[in-house]
Point group: C2
Chain length 420, copies 2
Amino acid sequence: MRRVYMDNTASTPLLPEVLDAMLPFLKDTYGNPQSIHDWGDPARDAIEDARNKVASLIGGRPEEIIFTSSGTEANNMAIKGLAQAQQSKGRHVVISAIEHFSVLHSARTLEKQGFEVTLIPVDRHALIDPADVARVLRKDTVLVSIMHANAEVGTIQPIADIAKAVKEAGAVFHTDAVATVGTIPVDVNILGVDALSLAANPFYGPKGAAALWVRRGVRILPLMDGGVQENGRRPGTENVPAIVGMGMAAYVAESQMGPRIRQIVNLRDRLISGLLSSIDHMSLSGHPTRRLPGTASFLFEFIEGESMLMLMNQRGIAASSGSACTSRALKASHVLIAMGIPPQQAHGSLLFSLGIHNNEEDVDYVVASLPPIVHTLREMSPLYDKFMRGQRGGTEHANLQREGDGPLHESPECRGDPES
Amino acid sequence: MRRVYMDNTASTPLLPEVLDAMLPFLKDTYGNPQSIHDWGDPARDAIEDARNKVASLIGGRPEEIIFTSSGTEANNMAIKGLAQAQQSKGRHVVISAIEHFSVLHSARTLEKQGFEVTLIPVDRHALIDPADVARVLRKDTVLVSIMHANAEVGTIQPIADIAKAVKEAGAVFHTDAVATVGTIPVDVNILGVDALSLAANPFYGPKGAAALWVRRGVRILPLMDGGVQENGRRPGTENVPAIVGMGMAAYVAESQMGPRIRQIVNLRDRLISGLLSSIDHMSLSGHPTRRLPGTASFLFEFIEGESMLMLMNQRGIAASSGSACTSRALKASHVLIAMGIPPQQAHGSLLFSLGIHNNEEDVDYVVASLPPIVHTLREMSPLYDKFMRGQRGGTEHANLQREGDGPLHESPECRGDPES
C-alpha cells in the first residue's frame, strides 16, 4: 500500500543535511557552550553560526534571536514577557480569536494577573481586518499579538498593515510566525513587528528547537529564571544539536524557498481542484488566495473529520482535522468557530498539509482514495440520510447546516494539536 | 597530547546506545505523538516507554513524570508552579543558600509576587542541618526546596531527614536532584519528597531532555500555557528524540549504577589523594564523605581558578571553576560564599567532575600536570609573594586568608554555569 504523509503541520521529517549537521554534536563535540576550555569552543561557535543563519532567514540581527525549546515556549515568553515588561504603561493586550493556544491561554493567564484582553474577530476566510485592530487600540494598550498565518486553514494575515496601526498607537507588536518562517518569505522589517516566534520543525528542522526574535531596544522579561545563557534571557544549558539543526534547516530553507513554494503550491492546487471536482457537499476553508503554500483545508458536510482520518489511515494516508480534538474539551476548533462555521460543519474539517516530500502521485492517490471514504461515511450518517430525504421532500439544504450544535459523534480518544 | 575531560558537570557525551535509540526518531519515525494516524503511534509509544524508564529510575509512577526541556525549566516549574498552586494556604517559601540559580532566582521572582523566602544556611562542608529547616517552618510555609546534591562541591544533603520535618509542617517538599539522579541511587519514596527535578545529561543522556516528577495529588500550576501535552501540564510538541534518549540513558544508568559508582569513586579518590599529596596550600572543598561519586573539588590558595583552567586547557585537560564566572556579575560562587569561604579563596576553586569515560591514566596525567601549573601561577602571584615574604618574616598565614575581598584578577571573559 502507498503511504502518503500530508500532515506536515503536525510534524515534518528532518532533512538529511540537517541530521548530518547535528550528528557531530550528538557524538564527539559534546562540550557545554559555556565552558572555557577546548570542548566548549566548537559548541559555542556552532550556536553562534546557527544564530546567524536563523537571523538571516527572517532579516533580523543575530543578537536579537533567543533560542527556545518550542514555538509554544517562544509564544509564552512573548505574550507574558512583553506584556509584563511594559505594564507600567498599561495593561491592555490585543490578540486575535484564532491564535494558537500558547498565545490564547497565555493571554488568559495575563487576565488573571489583572490585564485586560481584547479578541479581534476574523471573517469567514479567517482574515483579520486591520481596521478592527486599529479600532480597539487604546492609550493603555501595551501589546498586540496577531499570528502571521494560521496553520489550520492556511490564511495569511496582513501583518504589515496591522503593524502600522499598532506602531502609531505606540504598542509592542508580536506575531506568531511558526507557520510561515521557512515556508514563505518572512522579513521582520517588512512586516514591521517588534517580536516574532518561529520554530524549526515546520521547515524540516528538529523538534525541540525554536526561537523568539525580539527587536533590539524592546523590553521583555524572561519566562524562566536561572543562568546567563541567551544573553540572560533564556537560561538552561543550550540544546546544541537541536540549535545546530535549526541553523542548517534555516540556511536550506532560505536558499530553496522559491523552488519549494512552486513545487508545493502546484501540488496543493492539484489536490484542491481534484477533491472539489470529485466530491459533493464540501468546500475549501480559509482564504481562497492568501494562504500557506502547503495548506489544503476543507469542510465536509454530514460526516466527521476524525472518522475520515481513521479510514484514510487504513489506506496509508496521514492528515489532520480541526474537528474536535485540538483540546481535551471535545469542542470544535476555535479557529473554525471564530470563522463563523457552525460547529456541526466544523466537525467535518480536514487538513492536508503538503511538504517538499510530496509528489503528484501522492496527490492523485489521495484524490482517488477520498471519494469512496466520504461515500462510505455518508452512507452511515443519519444527517446525510436526513438531508437526502429532505432533498426528495423539498427541504432546503441551508436549514440543515444550522440545525444543531452538537457533534455528530463523540470521538473515542482525543489527540491532534497542530502547530505547537 | 593526551586529552582528559573531567568536566562532566558541565556536559557529558551521549552513550552510543542512547544515540542509537534516538536515531530512528531523527530519521523515519518523525510523527507527532499527538497524531491519530500510523505516523504518530510509534512516537507516542516511545514516549510512554521512556516515561516508564525514567519513572523506574527514581521509583515514581510514569504518570507522575512531566518531561521538560532542561533541569532549569523543571526547577522553574517546580518553584513557581508549586508555590503558586498552594498560595491560598500561605506565601512562605524555604530554600537553601546553595541552590542552583534556577531555584534561587525563581524564588526571587516569587518574592516580587509577594511571597516571603527564607534561605537556609550551610556549614563549611556545604551541609544543611535538618534542624535549621525545621526551625523556620511556619503555618504559612507552603513550599520547601532543598537540592539533593550540589554539583559544585559534591555535598549530598540529608533529604529524608529534612523531608520528615517538612511533612510534619504540612508543606510541599521539592528537591533539585539534577546532580544525583542517574549518578547515585535516588528513590522518591525513600527521600520522602513531593516533587523532584532531574535532567538526562548528567547520566549520559541528551541535552534538551529533563523532567519534573510530581507526586500524584500534589497541586502544581504549569509554567507554560498551550496544548494538552504531558497531561496538560507542559505544552508544546514533544521533543521525541530527546525524550527517547533520556529513557534509554535512564535504563542504562539504573542497570549500571553499582559498577559505575565503584569505578568513579576509585578514580575520584585517586585524584584527590594524588593532588593533596603533591601540592601545598590547597584543600578539598565540600563534605569529606557525603559527596557525589565523581566530584573532586578544591580550593587553591594564592591563585585564580580561571587561570588554572586556561593552563590546564593548554595541556588538554578540561575542568571547571566556581571562581568567578557562574554569573556575569564576576562574583565568586554563591555556593562557596555560603560555605563561609572568603571570596579570595573562593576565586581559587577548581572542580574536576569525573565520569564513566575516565580511567587511571587520566587521573595520573592530571596529578602530574597540575603541580607545575600551580607553581607557575604562584610564581606570578603577588599574594603568594607576599605570603612567602611573610613566612620569612614570621607573619601568620591565617591573616592573609581574610585580607581582602576583591578578586585577584578580573577575568577577561565570563562563562561556565555548571549544572543547568
